[in-house]
């Protein structure tokens, strides 16, 4: 479960009409940060709808279990799902884990994340992606801004996770994947009061996404606001990366040449909150 399959999964969760739900992850064979954080989001959305925590059957594959353990999935899952205790035992921090799943509720969390990630990011950005050592600063700035987006605009809880891994088949090089998701009010909800009238009938999740993602519109009158996402996009483009944001029924993407995602997808299920995924690829050798 990764960026390519997450929307279908989340849509199914949003559209589920039953009284009880079981997340059957027993046959999961692969999950990236988008998949893990997406699972927590899905469980949280289902729990909110049902008024009770949904049940999850954890993966039976030892590799996936170990990987979820290394990313700190189980401790967060305990708060979202009815699930068995973490059976993977204590695991040491793996070299490919850039940032374990971390809940974002306050600005203090953002400080913790940026402080925590710097040492590991420096090593990973240079050794795995071939970026200059100075790239740790723009990377940390990007992480700070994308996490603040949850606190400033979502008015709801969220999670972030990041990991480096080898996209051998898909791209033939290492990538770092950052996933940030919340189940707050989303871009449309954040911007509606101030901007919906100007758009009239055209006001929707996709126009709200375009307004925030492409034009830097915010609900604040302050002209200094709204530049976080713009600057993140600029930095991701500089690193030939992919950034994609889903909010409600739509997803917008800034697509590099190595990916074929559509720039806009609309008509999905009305998922609460905002979900941002960033993929940074290794530099191609000379």
């Amino acid at each position: 479960m990764d960026q390519s399959s997450i929307d279908e999964f989340l849509d199914e969760v949003v559209q589920f009409k039953g009284e009880r739900v079981l997340f059957d992850a027993r046959h999961l064979r692969w999950v990236d940060p988008n998949g893990m954080v997406g699972l927590l989001l899905a469980g949280s959305v289902a729990g909110e709808t049902l008024g009770m925590r949904p049940r999850i059957e954890l993966p039976d594959n030892a590799d996936v279990q170990g990987y979820l353990g290394r990313m700190g999935f189980y401790s967060h899952a305990q708060k979202v799902f009815e699930c068995e205790e973490d059976t993977s035992g204590a695991v040491s921090r793996a070299s490919d884990v850039l940032l374990e799943i971390t809940a974002i509720n306050t600005n203090h969390d953002v400080h913790e994340i940026v402080d925590q990630v710097q040492g590991r990011a420096s090593a990973m950005l240079t050794s795995k992606l071939g970026y200059p050592s100075s790239s740790v600063i723009p990377f940390s700035v990007m992480l700070s801004e994308v996490c603040q987006n949850i606190i400033e605009h979502a008015d709801g809880p969220g999670w972030v996770a990041a990991q480096a891994y080898n996209w051998a088949k898909r791209l033939g090089r290492f990538v770092i994947v950052i996933s940030v998701m919340d189940r707050g009010r989303g871009f449309k909800g954040s911007l509606s009061d101030e901007h919906s009238a100007r758009y009239g009938d055209r006001w929707s999740d996709s126009t709200a996404l375009e307004a925030a993602f492409l034009q830097g519109l915010t609900r604040f009158a302050d002209p200094g606001r709204g530049q976080g996402l713009q600057q993140i996009r600029k930095q991701v483009r500089k690193w030939s990366g992919l950034i994609s944001a889903r909010s409600g029924t739509a997803r917008i993407s800034q697509v590099p040449e190595w990916d074929d995602s559509p720039p806009m997808v609309d008509g999905m299920a009305p998922l609460p909150g905002t979900q941002i995924s960033i993929t940074l690829p290794a530099v191609v050798g000379p």
């Binding site: 600005n107 203090h108 400080h111 100075s134 940390s140 700035v141 700070s144 603040q148 530049q227």
Partner: protein, 193 residues
């Protein structure tokens, strides 16, 4: 220096950060952190003379993000420029390469400009400005200060004079109201460095 020269003030942002934010975090990130630091700087400035030039020092700051740069740099400048008295001038020190993109980004977004030290004793204009403003500012920076009767050396024609007026109005150079001499801001804070 002229008799009506602004009071020089040195403000270490790293120290202000430690003092104003009740945590051990050394990064200038998140908007509330930036707001707290700006308010602490403003409090410090309220104790200054009627006209001041502040050296805001980022040398000890590890990371500054766009939200903080907006609060600490752009909003600080904007507030004092909006004030009719225009009684505060600013020079930003220690804005090295890791900080420069963020500072430049927030200034350009609001069409502001600032005098910034990007390497030891190397000052530059950062943000939004015209070619004429840049040329006049560069000439003044090279000369450090110029008397009123020699202003044509830095602003030789009408467009240069207009650019100089704009630089004064934007708080990017200092002109003595008594003598009419014009000073590079870097010169006014040189003894603080």
């Amino acid at each position: 220096m002229t008799a009506d020269a602004p009071d020089p003030i040195a403000i270490d942002v790293g120290e202000v950060l430690q003092r104003s934010v009740t945590s051990l975090h050394s990064s200038l990130i998140t908007r509330p952190t930036g707001r707290a630091v700006r308010m602490a700087i403003e409090t410090q400035l309220r104790g200054a003379g009627t006209l001041s030039v502040s050296l805001i020092d980022f040398s000890e700051v590890g990371i500054i993000d766009y939200s903080c740069a907006d609060e600490v740099v752009a909003k600080l400048l904007k507030q004092y420029l909006a004030d009719e008295r225009q009684d505060a001038l600013f020079v930003f020190r220690g804005v090295r390469e890791p900080h420069l993109l963020q500072v430049e980004g927030v200034l350009q977004r609001q069409k502001l400009a600032a005098v910034v030290e990007t390497a030891p004793s190397q000052f530059t204009l950062v943000g939004t400005f015209s070619d004429q403003e840049r040329q006049v500012w560069d000439r003044l920076e090279a000369k450090r200060a110029i008397n009123a009767d020699a202003v044509d050396q830095i602003a030789p024609d009408r467009s240069g004079v207009m650019a100089l007026e704009s630089l004064v109005e934007r708080g990017l150079v200092f002109r003595s109201s008594k003598s009419g001499s014009v000073h590079a801001l870097s010169q006014l804070v040189a003894h603080l460095m």
